[in-house]
């Protein structure tokens, strides 16, 4: 039975090859596996940083631009912000929701860019997917390895069939800490003290201080 595929006539072999290629391409476009998706976008980002002197030097504005271009398209930021805000999100006006998203985004992108400015020779290892997870809420565990102890970095994804890469990120876990859960307390405290507008005002103030200090 070894080499039996050589007996297939040429035209049929070509057809088979074409079909196989077409189907893998279709599978890739529609159904990229979640761990493959995470591996691809993290490696793309790391490769750009490693190849660029200004980025490696920790140029925060340029890093923020990179995060905006390369990472944010894969993030459902509206969902992130609404979950961090909690029930008060539903009572906010569309304008308030927009401002909240914009300011929260500046805060997170700056933080993320600050972390990326530490990139030197790290590699990201994507761990095998844990079984029994749902497509609506699926965790991909990764580890950033470089100098020192490995850094746990996990992504929470939801499937978006037929849209973009088929997956979007809506929460991030750094060293065992989920961001949305941690920001829920921060946001709730401000909302309880002075409503959504107070929360927006504190985010604006924090972003201004951060911009001054960098």
């Amino acid at each position: 039975m070894k080499n039996s595929h050589f007996r297939i006539p040429l035209n049929r072999r070509q057809m088979l090859a074409a079909t196989l290629m077409a189907s893998t391409a279709a599978v890739w476009a529609a159904d990229e596996a979640p761990e493959v998706f995470v591996k691809r976008i993290t490696n793309e980002t790391l490769d750009i940083i490693k190849a660029d002197k200004a980025l490696r030097g920790g140029d925060v504005n340029k890093l923020m631009q990179l995060v905006d271009d390369k990472v944010m398209p894969y993030v459902n930021f509206r969902r992130m912000t609404s979950l961090a805000t909690g029930p008060a999100w539903r009572k906010a006006t569309p304008e308030q929701q927009k401002r909240l998203q914009d300011e929260f985004k500046i805060l997170l992108v700056r933080t993320y860019a600050g972390a990326l400015s530490q990139v030197s020779d790290q590699v990201v290892v994507v761990k095998p997917l844990r079984a029994g997870q749902e497509d609506k809420n699926l965790v991909v565990n990764t580890e950033v390895r470089g100098k020192g102890d490995p850094i746990q970095l996990d992504y929470r994804l939801e499937k978006t069939p037929g849209e973009g890469s088929g997956w979007v990120i809506f929460d991030l876990n750094v060293l065992g800490v989920w961001l949305i859960e941690n920001y829920r307390t921060q946001f709730t405290k401000e909302i309880n003290a002075g409503g959504i507008d107070a929360l927006i005002a504190s985010l604006v103030a924090r972003n201004k201080t951060n911009a001054r200090n960098s």
């Binding site: 509206r78 979950l83 809506f170």
Partner: protein, 243 residues
């Protein structure tokens, strides 16, 4: 000498508990943090000590000591820490982790010049950090209220109870010469803080209220560590936008 120091530590802990008792009636917004007003005061104290003493010392350490020496010291401290991790892996019946930690310590101590080189990691023997607080957590002890310890920082009632055991089990305590012990403790503090220089700045930049940000992160992280990276989540991720 050793008993004098132990008494001092236990005395400190007793004082903390007394202080906490006194604060137990203060109302707090978070059920996990009934002693918030007390904790906040200790947090501010720790932050002040850090700003004037520990952080500047760590910055000097980073600027003066060459990077390869710092890496060597970091590896050396990590190797000592692996011994206690091994004991705690065993206490949690994690046989493979205990064996791997044992191999890490053997390889790094013998081939890595007493732990200065981390050859085990190069050999893909991963570090599994475990302490007695995690061991208690593994056996079902709940974290209890959040506690900020003077100088030592974030903790919980469970981790505070575990603290004297971790202190006893610390390999640095086994060195006979007191001067050596003290130098090692000071070096480890510098090493720890030096590696956190960027992290602490980031936490302060990323948060609206650093105290509760650090608290929530600590509580999440400890839960994460007890479950080796995959804790059960009770956070409600259902879509808030949905009607």
């Amino acid at each position: 000498m050793s008993s004098v120091r132990n008494r001092w530590v236990f005395g400190l802990l007793a004082l903390v508990f007394l202080a906490l008792q006194g604060c137990a009636s203060v109302k707090s917004a978070d059920v996990r943090d009934p002693w918030e007003s007390m904790n906040r005061r200790i947090y501010n104290f720790n932050d002040a000590v850090d700003t004037v003493a520990i952080k500047p010392a760590a910055q000097v350490y980073v600027n003066v000591v060459p990077s390869f020496v710092r890496t060597g010291l970091y590896n050396f401290m990590g190797n000592l820490g692996d011994v206690w991790s091994m004991a705690n892996s065993a206490l949690q019946l994690k046989g493979q982790h205990a064996v791997e930690s044992f191999m890490r310590v053997s390889v790094n101590t013998v081939l890595g010049l007493g732990g200065v080189l981390d050859i085990a990691t190069e050999m893909r023997l991963e570090r599994h950090k475990e302490d007695f607080g995690q061991t208690l957590g593994y056996w079902g002890v709940k974290p209890g209220p959040y506690v900020v310890l003077p100088l030592f920082g974030p903790s919980t009632l469970r981790d505070t109870v575990a603290f004297p055991v971790d202190y006893k089990g610390d390999v640095i305590r086994q060195f006979d010469d007191q001067a050596t012990r003290n130098s090692l403790v000071a070096l480890r503090t510098l090493d720890l803080r030096a590696n956190l220089l960027k992290t602490v700045d980031t936490v302060k930049e990323a948060s609206l209220d650093p105290y509760s940000f650090v608290r929530d992160a600590y509580l999440q992280k400890r839960e994460n560590d007890v479950y080796d990276g995959n804790p059960p989540s009770d956070f409600d991720y259902s879509d808030i936008d949905a009607p």
